[in-house]
Symmetry: C2
Subunit: 408 residues, 2 copies
Amino acid sequence: MRRINPQNFTLAKRGTSREINRQIVLTLIRTHQPVSRADLARLMDTNRANVTFIINELLEEKLVREGAQGNEKVRGRKPTFLYVNSNKSYAVAVDVRASRTFLMVTDSIGKQISDIVSFATEIDPQKFINTLSANIRKAVPSSIKESSCEGIGIVVPGMTDIKTGRVLRAPALGWVDVDLLVLLRREFEDIPIYIENSGKACALSQIWATRSDLHTDHDLVFVSISDGVGVGVIINGELMRGKHNTAGEFGHLPLSIDGLPCLCGANGCWEAYISNLATISRYFGKKISPRQPLSLETADFTIEDLIKRARTGDGKALAALHLTARYLGLGLASIINAIDPSQIYLGGEITEAWDLIEPQVRDAIKERTLTRELGVTPIRIVPAIEYPRLRGAVALVTSPAFAAPKVA
Amino acid sequence: MRRINPQNFTLAKRGTSREINRQIVLTLIRTHQPVSRADLARLMDTNRANVTFIINELLEEKLVREGAQGNEKVRGRKPTFLYVNSNKSYAVAVDVRASRTFLMVTDSIGKQISDIVSFATEIDPQKFINTLSANIRKAVPSSIKESSCEGIGIVVPGMTDIKTGRVLRAPALGWVDVDLLVLLRREFEDIPIYIENSGKACALSQIWATRSDLHTDHDLVFVSISDGVGVGVIINGELMRGKHNTAGEFGHLPLSIDGLPCLCGANGCWEAYISNLATISRYFGKKISPRQPLSLETADFTIEDLIKRARTGDGKALAALHLTARYLGLGLASIINAIDPSQIYLGGEITEAWDLIEPQVRDAIKERTLTRELGVTPIRIVPAIEYPRLRGAVALVTSPAFAAPKVA
DNA sequence: GTATTATGTTAAAAGTTTTAACAAATAACC
DNA sequence: GGTTATTTGTTAAAACTTTTAACATAATAC
């Protein structure tokens, strides 16, 4: 139940009903394709005439295309299948990370149509943009060079201002108030550019995934653990942004207000207990040094190495993982108590050791959640191979075309 | 931007536009009354003809009534003022608390039309319902006995299932799985009954308050501190409920995972540091005894007494308050980092000492929030005299008539 | 070949918003 | 005091929806 904002509402006009039903039809085609007009009429519980009218409009705008005819062995005229016209334009997705930047090209419904390429992330913003631009141009397949680019979606490990397209703070990159949008717009005029925090983008990737249509997740949380902890939250089917687009910073919830020092300046943050760096430090028996986040990172030892050792009988490595697992669970319990999500998605390198750490995580969750149901909140591991951050970057570009219109 | 759920959407029908605009008109009359048709046309940026049609419909349904004519000293025909017809029906609001239960009667737009009455809360559910029913019947003014009751809204300090109307857990009352709805429906057949957690209701009270129309709060948090800590969160203009309607349990975020034992069974919960009981215990230099929550409560010493002592020079009392203030701020910082609300509303007895504790609270917030903007998130004290819980109970009943229709 | 059945289109009906014209009412003006 | 200007509210017609009903199309079943 939503309250109508008397300062900022949207009146229904003559064309509003059509607009609403158009988006519903587009969504249904996207999630059910191939699908016929008659199928749509049944799905929408309306008559075929109405569907015909709407489809004609979408065909004229080339948002939808007709395909082959169905040929099931049933009596009656055969249906003409409809598809979202995904060749109309393409999208570029970019995932900026501390060490490397990844990018790929997709069609207009987010299907990958290029290899995933990567390059070393340059810290100097102008140099970064130069390298990025060159790589984007190289990645777009020559076959689709003529079709228009629907947009470029960029995902960054830090706080962003989505209105101005600025990166406010990205500690892992050392960026403060970097105006990515302006720099990139010089290279790609007239192409829409979307810039978003990686945790939020990951959450979007799950909401907009075609797969996720099966479950009706209206409230979900995506937690990804790497150098830091990124969290994205979907509430009532919408991304939780907050007033300054900084909502979802669960990484700095305290486990103990006078615990380990965190890179953020405070003490005892969850992140300080479960980041890859924290786990590695724990293994080596060192404290995290607040102002030298990269000292160990740049050393060759990674969390993957640690997991490998744990798997091959290194008791200290396994113990370090188990302790991280416990803290991970304690923090997740707080998120569960706060949000009560129908599902938690978990990403990051450490999830490759999920079989080793799941019991500790679950026990810790049960320890601090307030009801039995909350204690068994389902957790889905999102493996690196699914590229959730890149998928999120894609969603930034391709999802607006399918979103519900703003009404009332 | 909201995704359309392909499993559960609402098609636009022939009457959908009208339905949307009707609700907008109702909302505008509620927030701007007295208001003329011409005013509405200007507010809605549409023509007077359309407004006339919609108003005629609302007049026929007696949801709106015409009043006197305006008489400003301007040229032209004088406007006829429109009002929401608040005499059509009445609502009953009930606030169940550990010691006493409060109730009042309002008209259909939530204006108080009876005294606020209270009675001792009986722990036995059946006895409670009997007393409540008698008090409700007594409270309804005889002048409106004939008009219909729009509903009864009940607010409870615990977890509720709003679908079945059951109280799942209310530690302060010792209620576990109490079926309030069924018990009360025996007394009041055919009258809609709404049961909700008090923290969530408080949040609703702010969103639906006519006053709050000034600021466009799309994301807000209501924190009320008494025996426990109740929190209600509004995200994107909608109450955050979560899968089991238990979202918002920030009271059990840890400040230190191995800190003070909390009544919930875990250790170091925020609640264990800032509840009235916690502050009083601190003053007396005692630890909170986990399984005897009422031992100190039933003693005559209240938090109000403690505040009085602090004001009259009792240094230990002031110190206890200041420490609570610090912990309060540290917890609020976590909420701010997580939600990034445009405003925090703070209720509970301790807010009567706001002038004494504000600096400590603000300092603690700044200490753990991640950006400068987050550190200065505005806080509004909601005094007891505003009866936020009762206002929330009212909103449960009266707000559905003004809510945005579900569309797309 | 004919009957049956499902798909997709078309014309007309019914319900919206929108436009334009008009009636009603009142202050300002000469 | 009469006329003009201006604002409010209504009404009729236009434009754009969804909905209903009828129909053409195309395939299988008999």
